[in-house]
């Protein structure tokens, strides 16, 4: 209690103009920035994996399993920031027992469970099933039993069974694409449907969320692929890398166009809130929105990848450009989430003033916790890579 009050007292100096007295406390902090960022990575990585199966993009084959496992690792972590930010995490199960059907947030558990159980786990299981069985046969000690267990003790590796596996993967992918759209479009809807908040309230919100999710997912898989391959002392497949960068480029163009459309639409309509939003963008959000999100996270990577496409660039340089671009994209998308979540709470709903957000270091909603939550999926991914090696040579043929 005292801690909260002291924190709020320190914020009072940052207020400009008039805000409603209850608005000094900013309710959705860093954790809620991480939540859409992480779910975005899940949806993006999955959609990338689906390109291989549904549209048969052969070049991307080396990243197929990697993308699936990346999606899974991040999906495990996705609900944690939500849980940690609740005033009463111990009551969170009420969302499942007595969901309020008119609440967008109440649907989270169901969307999440559907995506985890019916899509990701199923697709991974069917795709790996044969390998599980072979690994179980060749494995020793505890690993043998781990593989037996995760194969759910299935043993059939006949032609017909494998054909069925393949067909199932395709089916699940077909259901998976709309599900991935649902997962992240839904996160956008949580913000986009808040009519009280003009910064959030927009039909474009779910679509912008979706495309920025795909952008971040592709960039993440590209990064992981570029880091892991040399670590395994293998050659990076330039065809695969070029294709990844191409997809990244095209989706970024769509994302960029949507964001520009949103901007033009808002300024052209110039509703009641336009003055305070203009003040927000040119002031407290200038660095994170204009400099980081737009310039660093969008224009520079777009320009660099375009340059690679137009000019003959040696592959070593191409690699560095892709790598740096993908990192910039990650920073840019994180800042996109920041600008939506935090930005939407920096102005008063009286449209007469601005408030501030101060991060704490310790505590449930602090910086330390957030860094932990961003590192956790990397750790999970490391373990997944150990248990379910996604590399081609690990496949049993």
């Amino acid at each position: 209690m005292e801690e909260i009050v002291n924190h709020l007292v320190s914020l009072t100096k940052e207020i400009s103009g008039y805000i409603y007295p209850n608005e000094i406390e900013l309710h959705w902090g860093l954790l809620i920035v991480i939540y859409p960022y992480v779910t975005g990575l899940v949806a993006g990585a999955f959609i990338l994996a689906s390109l291989v199966k549904v549209f048969d993009v052969k070049e991307l084959q080396p990243t197929y399993r990697m993308s699936l496992l990346t999606a899974l690792a991040f999906l495990f972590v996705a609900p944690l920031p939500l849980l940690a930010h609740l005033g009463h995490p111990e009551k969170s199960f009420e969302i499942f027992l007595t969901p309020n059907t008119s609440s967008a947030m109440a649907m989270f558990g169901f969307v999440y469970a559907w995506y985890l159980m019916a899509v990701l786990l199923l697709e991974i299981w069917f795709d790996y099933r044969k390998d599980f069985i072979v690994w179980a046969n060749h494995g020793k000690g505890i690993m043998k039993w781990i593989y037996k267990f995760i194969s759910l003790f299935s043993k059939d590796i006949s032609e017909a069974a494998l054909r069925f596996d393949k067909k199932s993967v395709k089916m699940v992918t077909l259901i998976g694409i709309p599900s991935a759209f649902l997962l992240h479009g839904y996160v956008g809807f949580i913000f986009g449907s808040v009519k009280a908040n003009p910064w959030w309230s927009s039909v474009l919100m779910p679509i912008v969320f979706l495309f920025s999710a795909i952008v971040s997912g592709i960039a993440l898989v590209l990064l992981i692929y570029m880091v892991i391959t040399p670590l395994r002392s293998k050659e990076i497949d330039m065809k695969c890398l070029d294709k990844l960068a191409s997809y990244l480029f095209y989706i970024m163009i769509i994302d960029f166009s949507l964001e520009i459309l949103d901007f033009i639409h808002r300024t052209y309509e110039a509703e009641e809130s336009i003055k305070i939003l203009a003040e927000l963008v040119s002031g407290r959000l200038f660095v994170s929105l204009i400099v980081i999100q737009l310039l660093m996270g969008m224009i520079i990577p777009l320009g660099s990848i375009a340059a690679v496409k137009f000019f003959q660039v040696p592959s070593e340089l191409r690699k560095s450009i892709y790598f740096v671009s993908a990192i910039l994209v990650q920073i840019g998308i994180f800042s996109t989430r920041w600008n939506v979540v935090i930005g939407g709470q920096l102005f008063s709903k009286s449209f007469r003033g601005l408030t501030a957000y101060k991060m704490t270091f310790f505590g449930f909603e602090g910086l330390l916790m957030s860094i932990g939550l961003l590192l956790l999926p990397i750790l999970i991914l490391y373990i997944l890579f150990k248990i379910l090696p996604p590399w081609d040579e690990a496949r049993s043929n």
Binding site: P21, N22, H27, G87, S102, A196, R352
Partner: protein, 265 residues
């Protein structure tokens, strides 16, 4: 013939299977129904013991801006009555002062929610052309966005039109605070659950007015039935030109303002 019979019994088996499947799956929802029933149980008991029938009422408030003198007694009384934290960040009701200058500038303030009133505006160089006080509180919307978004149904609309929060159910996700266009909600720093004006529901069911109405020295706040003819609120609504806050959002507030300036929001 045998084939046909076989086919039939297979069909029946399938039908039975599907039927059983649906029955078993519907079992998943039982906990939901049961807890939803026990949830409203406690409140119902209290109301029934007082012989108060919420279905017979529809409550609202009228605020005459011309009558408010900005003394802040309502803010103080509210904090006292409802045990709201005394820190200057948590208010169920507060009073705003508007100063509108001849050059078009608008100054709004509400120091500590105006719990101690306002200091006189002295060093204003420019000419003030209009100035007034506006008491604010939960609008008890008929179409409440906060109730719509609550993931667990902890905040709800009673039959008599009051928006309440059940702290036992509230998980502290704060979606309702984001959804309220009026800044009328806050997170209780002690309980970490959502809090807001209840129209002093514990008083209303005992046929008393909310405490802010009770203590107002100028009767700027009028509480009463919206639909019953002899109600003071209905009389107030007949005698004044009324406005509500942010009507474009279609929240249909039940707090009605008389003599409201266009700058109020």
């Amino acid at each position: 013939m045998e084939n046909v019979n076989n086919q039939k019994s297979n069909d029946l088996k399938r039908r039975k299977f599907i039927k059983n499947l649906f029955i078993s799956l519907s079992g998943l929802f039982i906990p939901g129904f049961v807890s939803a029933m026990t949830k409203t149980g406690g409140l119902k008991d209290l109301i029934l013991s007082l012989a108060y029938d919420p279905k017979e009422h529809l409550w609202g408030m009228g605020i005459d801006i011309d009558k408010c003198i900005g003394c802040g007694r309502c803010v103080n009384a509210c904090k006292e009555e409802n045990d709201v934290s005394r820190e200057p960040f948590f208010f169920r009701t507060w009073v705003e002062r508007y100063r509108i200058f001849d050059n078009g500038k608008v100054l709004v303030d509400s120091p500590n929610g105006a719990i101690n009133g306002f200091k006189p505006s002295t060093n204003d160089e420019e000419n003030i052309i209009r100035s007034f006080f506006v008491p604010k509180l939960c609008n008890h919307c008929d179409n409440p966005p906060c109730v719509q978004v609550c993931p667990v149904g902890a905040t709800f609309k009673t039959d008599d039109g009051v928006i309440l929060v059940d702290p036992k159910y509230c998980i502290g996700c704060r979606y309702c605070i984001q959804a309220c266009p009026y800044g009328a909600r806050f997170l209780d720093p002690e309980t970490r659950t959502a809090e807001k004006c209840t129209f002093c529901y514990h008083r209303v069911v005992r046929e008393l007015s909310p405490v802010c109405v009770e203590v107002c020295p100028t009767q700027a706040r009028i509480f009463g039935e919206i639909k019953k003819k002899p109600s003071p609120l209905v009389r107030f609504m007949r005698k004044h030109v009324l406005g509500v806050l942010k009507p474009a959002l279609n929240t249909e507030p039940k707090v009605f303002y008389a003599n409201m300036d266009m700058e109020v929001r």
